[in-house]
Symmetry: C2
Subunit: 323 residues, 2 copies
Amino acid sequence: MVESVHRVAACAGDVHGKLTYSAGDIDTTVYLRSAAKPFIAAAVVASGAAARFGFDARELATIAASHNGEPAHVDVVRGILAKIGLDAGALQCGVHAPSYEPAAAALTAAGERPSALHHNCSGKHAGILAACVHLGFDPATYLALDHPVQQRILELCARALGTTAEALPVGVDGCGIPVFAAPLRAAALAYARFATLEGLSDADAAALETVRRAMVEEPFFVAGTGRFDTALIETTGGRIVCKAGAEGVHGDALRREGLGLVVKVIDGGAGRAIPPATMALLEGLGALESSESVALEAFAAPPLRNAAGRVVGVLETRLPARA
Amino acid sequence: MVESVHRVAACAGDVHGKLTYSAGDIDTTVYLRSAAKPFIAAAVVASGAAARFGFDARELATIAASHNGEPAHVDVVRGILAKIGLDAGALQCGVHAPSYEPAAAALTAAGERPSALHHNCSGKHAGILAACVHLGFDPATYLALDHPVQQRILELCARALGTTAEALPVGVDGCGIPVFAAPLRAAALAYARFATLEGLSDADAAALETVRRAMVEEPFFVAGTGRFDTALIETTGGRIVCKAGAEGVHGDALRREGLGLVVKVIDGGAGRAIPPATMALLEGLGALESSESVALEAFAAPPLRNAAGRVVGVLETRLPARA
């Protein structure tokens, strides 16, 4: 028996805006949330901060991450802050317990409290602070929409989306940063550009390539233990580079196909609906080898377990017809 | 900007099956989950166990509860088990941390681990065990569908729904108990009967009245601090008696109007969509006084806050036209 139903809008297209797949409303603007992080990280790279402070692949992947707050993630963020002469007190993302439950439990068992370093966005905040320090901008007000670092970020994101910063509707994200909205159609274009590095200025392409290489080299630092994004990048050997966002957003750069795929779970049920929906779409697009589908099976049809560990149901995806 | 959309099916009707309101598909079966608990608690009362062990209003409300796992809830469940000569080891609901975060934090701070007593369904399990002990049924196998206590529960629920136990599709709930499905139309009938005590055998009506009185007298024990069900029963002085279920189900007995209202959030987004949707429906039905609407305002349009505590959005409900 079907108990609950998540509706999904999705769109796959190339750098010319040609759509390979479309389902649902792809022309209404949607907040891209953390699916914008690879482009935000690229703005940090484009600022010159990554070269100046010698950020390695782990640090760049963590700047683009929604991480689990595992000890290795926290260490990397602490390291970024040390390199730029700041500490956790400079992070204005707020505090939440590590997303990875065993990491949260270990913290509690050690009698420690979560800090801003454990926030899933702490790497992004540290990266933006690095750009501020490098460019001589005020690090105390880095979350303000009119701060020059946020304007640089929005401008790079807008170029990737094929629009202008002024045209982007902006709200406030869960971590306090300005968050912009774009139609799924434009987001798919941006992810196609991320996949191919085509249709971009040389500087933007180089910055996005640096971020992409880091995410491919260090997928654990993009998310963490048990997470879909880490598993998908790792299993495909970086042929697919992806990033989840809150409220059910997912962006996928399909490098072999030269496509960007973007998914939005309409009701925002991110936690459970993104992996099965994305897996079904990737399979529908022929973007996964059969061995990869097998390796990622647990994400395609996740069993639902109750508190006693008994399997009581399963999540399944039904794809509508292709566009 | 609208970021995410939850769809809701809902139905309000009287004991004759006459509908006052209907939206979405109300004829497909839906697992009622914990919205069935008042009827399950009534089966415990009807068994004679409540009279035999002298369960008071707090105990009966807790048997019908999805409680927060606050210390007072845990004490009541422990007390029920003591009265029937069992302990927490007899509970087969599994273990989860208290739903109320401060209670979970206090437990951790005291160096204690959550037990089955903290499971939101522990009261129901204790009540079912009470019926087993009273009737001489095996308490070790009380979760099996063919156990006589489960058959008695299903039979009472089926009578309230206007059907038979054999006709109810049955699955396994989050706490291991058999969970049945019914169309929203039938669930609204059952809640109308709970509201009016009409259309029932004398024995079923008496048992449901005992449960209803307990929920009205002790609404804290139906849910707990900050919870919508506790607030709605309390604020209306028990004129509305309600019970939430997992995956977005909510049942409301509107005693003044003689109506049952049942809500299902289609995507299962229970945590956030039930209170605003139910509030909009209750207001649409004229079931709330304006002072009550004011008192419950925080549930009607809950602000969404980020990790830093800043309000970044709000949940709002749009009612479709009445049936």
